[in-house]
Amino acid sequence: MKPTVAVFSFTGCEGCSLAILECENELLDVLNLVQLVRWREAMTETAQEFDIALVDGSISTHHDVKKVKQIRELCKLLVPIGACAHNAGLNALKNRYGMGQVKETVYGDAGAQFDTIPACPVSAVVPIDFALPGCPIDRGEFVRTVRDLCLGKTPRLPTYPICVECKKKENVCVFFQGKFCMGPVTRAGCGAICPTYGDGCEGCRGFVDDPNQNAHKETLAEYGLTAREVMQHFDMFNSYDDRLP
């Protein structure tokens, strides 16, 4: 029996579930490995039982909380995909304001009718089995993860920072052009795509384990920066993370 898979979306742009559809070259192979049984964005079928639940988006309403708890009950493995689900991603940027204020800013007096709570990662509400980072997720990493889960293996994320991948690609460091880059403190796995296209990394994959210890010291030393200085610069994707100074 192939493991059954369901995909759910919470508060996000659904880019991560779209990224699954973007695995065009691998999609039919993935479908040989697993049986997709529920995915609102792509299919009308609504199975009530499944082995693996992939979840994109942050938890940001009472309704989200209730629904993610139900999903946890229904599945064997719960795997948040993408920055929103992994560490609250961009959504956490609203948390610095009071919820009353954000409602009023968008909807004016009519705002009171809307349900919203500070955005949080899925792991803050229910236990998770693994989380795939990135905004959006990396297609290759997604396919590998599904394969590992089907084989009963625990998937692994790189423990080194983006700089390692960036140096392998022989990119000219963007600090050199006067730009800023989160690469030294950000977990690798995207192939350093942003620096490869000439832009700084925005840290969408979250921090490496213990960024102060494991930052890419060589790069930081070249530009006379500390890990803390780099972390302070960009809170775009990491404002939920309490390691941010």
């Binding site: 659904e14 779209l18 070259n25 995915w39 792509a42 299919m43 961009l90």
Partner: protein, 429 residues
């Protein structure tokens, strides 16, 4: 006639969360609503106080499907506010990425989301068994569109290489030539899909409607427009967009509704076709004729046909742009920008219709006020009006058929509900 009590929770095969409620007693509609239940994301609180060069990377995350569209409108707004002119090279590259995104979104929508309805199956998955070549062809077209986006913008979802004023990299001519070849070859796939579509039957319903879209004197408006026009004959410049329609909050929807003086209106591929078909390429117009699409079409289901017509347009546009880029000496441009206070409005025709980003910056280049107008939000009012107009005619059918019809109607609009709830409307000091 039996009473109808429908509550479709979480309409499937659309992006985002929406419900349909329909209650009919003794042949009279008592309740009929399209409810948008998606969690609001409050983008405005996220971008207030953000720097001019960060804002696009935040707002492009409003939508995974049309992030290049959001990026385009956002960059135009920032550049208008800061008084920045872009080079021919940057314009061509942006237009090319935009073609790629439009193609990718239309293919996704027509093949994965709508085709199952027309072929009588609940999703694309059973088609892998019954119509394998069609599925593989759709995957091939989508892959090409993605690759087009990737070569120029780094990736399709949340492009990392589209920046204010210029691109931080230069594409390789070999990659451009390879894309050109694949695009030329893909015309066969597109024509096959036209033949397939000819054999399928769309619901035949009509209602008097108003169509609103961008307009550009020199091109079929997609990446940019100089004016916003209505099929009623009204036209306004882009910064005056608020004179064309107004937005309001309704109790049953997390997304705002919009109306012109006349009332509800439609945006998207059908609106663009109706307003700007004269600017389409002859080949695209031929396809429209072959599929029975004529200007002034008032059947919302024909939106999907207009999307196929635009696929032909975008493929040919992309080939022409690639030729122009190959003739240019491509250079890494100077990204320096002079920061100043000001307001700028940017507008693009994303797959689902006109999208507007409107920002105001202070003299440090930080956002002080913002407004976003999203296509799905503009269409919601029109979809509800359609439902009110068409439901009485199908009340003799089974509940299941009525539900199916309503869901198909929503899908015909290609709504991107998750982005519809991310409207920005900020009044700030």
């Amino acid at each position: 006639m039996p009473d109808v009590n429908l509550h479709v929770e979480d309409i499937t095969r659309v992006e985002g969360h929406g419900d349909i409620v329909l209650n009919v007693k003794q042949g009279k509609i008592e309740e009929l609503r399209l409810e948008i239940t998606e969690s609001p994301r409050f983008y405005e609180s996220m971008i207030l106080g953000r720097r001019w060069d960060e804002v696009t990377h935040i707002t492009c995350r409003i939508c995974g499907i049309c992030s290049i569209g959001h990026t385009s409108a956002s960059l135009q707004a920032v550049e208008a506010a800061l008084g920045i002119q872009i080079s021919q090279q940057t314009l061509l590259m942006r237009q090319l990425a935009f073609c790629g995104e439009t193609l990718q979104s239309h293919v996704l929508h027509v093949y994965y989301l709508v085709a199952p309805d027309l072929l009588g199956v609940p999703s694309v998955l059973p088609l892998v068994e019954t119509h394998k070549e069609v599925v593989i062809m759709a995957l091939r077209l989508k892959r090409l569109a993605n690759d087009l986006c990737a070569v120029i913008a780094g990736r399709h979802i949340h492009p990392c290489a589209m920046k204010v004023k210029c691109f931080p990299h230069v594409p390789r001519k070999d990659d451009l030539r390879a894309l050109r070849e694949r695009l030329v070859a893909s015309m066969d796939d597109l024509m096959d899909s036209v033949s397939l579509l000819k054999t399928l039957q769309l619901p035949q319903v009509e209602r008097e409607m108003e169509f609103v879209s961008l307009y550009h004197p020199d091109e079929y408006a997609l990446y940019r427009g100089t004016e916003m026009i209505s099929s009623r004959g009204q036209r306004v410049t882009i910064p005056e967009y608020k004179q064309m329609f107004s937005e309001y909050v309704v109790a049953h929807s997390h997304a705002k509704h919009a109306a012109t003086e006349r009332g509800s209106y439609m945006v998207g591929a059908l609106a663009r076709f109706n307003n700007n078909h004269r600017q389409l390429r002859p080949r695209a117009l031929e396809v429209a004729t072959a599929l029975g699409l004529e200007s002034g079409c008032m059947n919302p289901f024909m939106n999907n046909v207009a999307q196929v017509v635009e696929c032909v347009q975008c493929t040919l546009d992309a080939i022409e742009i690639l030729d122009k880029l190959c003739d240019l000496e491509l250079v890494l441009e100077d990204p320096t920008v002079e920061v100043k206070a000001g307001r700028g409005v940017g507008a693009s025709e994303v797959p689902r219709g006109q999208l507007i980003h409107d920002y105001t910056f202070n003299d440090e280049g930080l956002v002080t006020e913002a407004n976003l107008v999203i296509p799905t939000g503009q269409n919601l009012n029109n979809i509800e009006r359609d439902m009110h107009a068409f439901v009485p005619g199908i009340l003799d059918r089974s509940q299941d058929e009525i539900r199916q019809f309503l869901e198909m109607l929503v899908r015909a609009y290609d709504p991107c509900i998750s982005c519809a709830t991310h409207l920005l409307r900020v009044k700030f000091v």
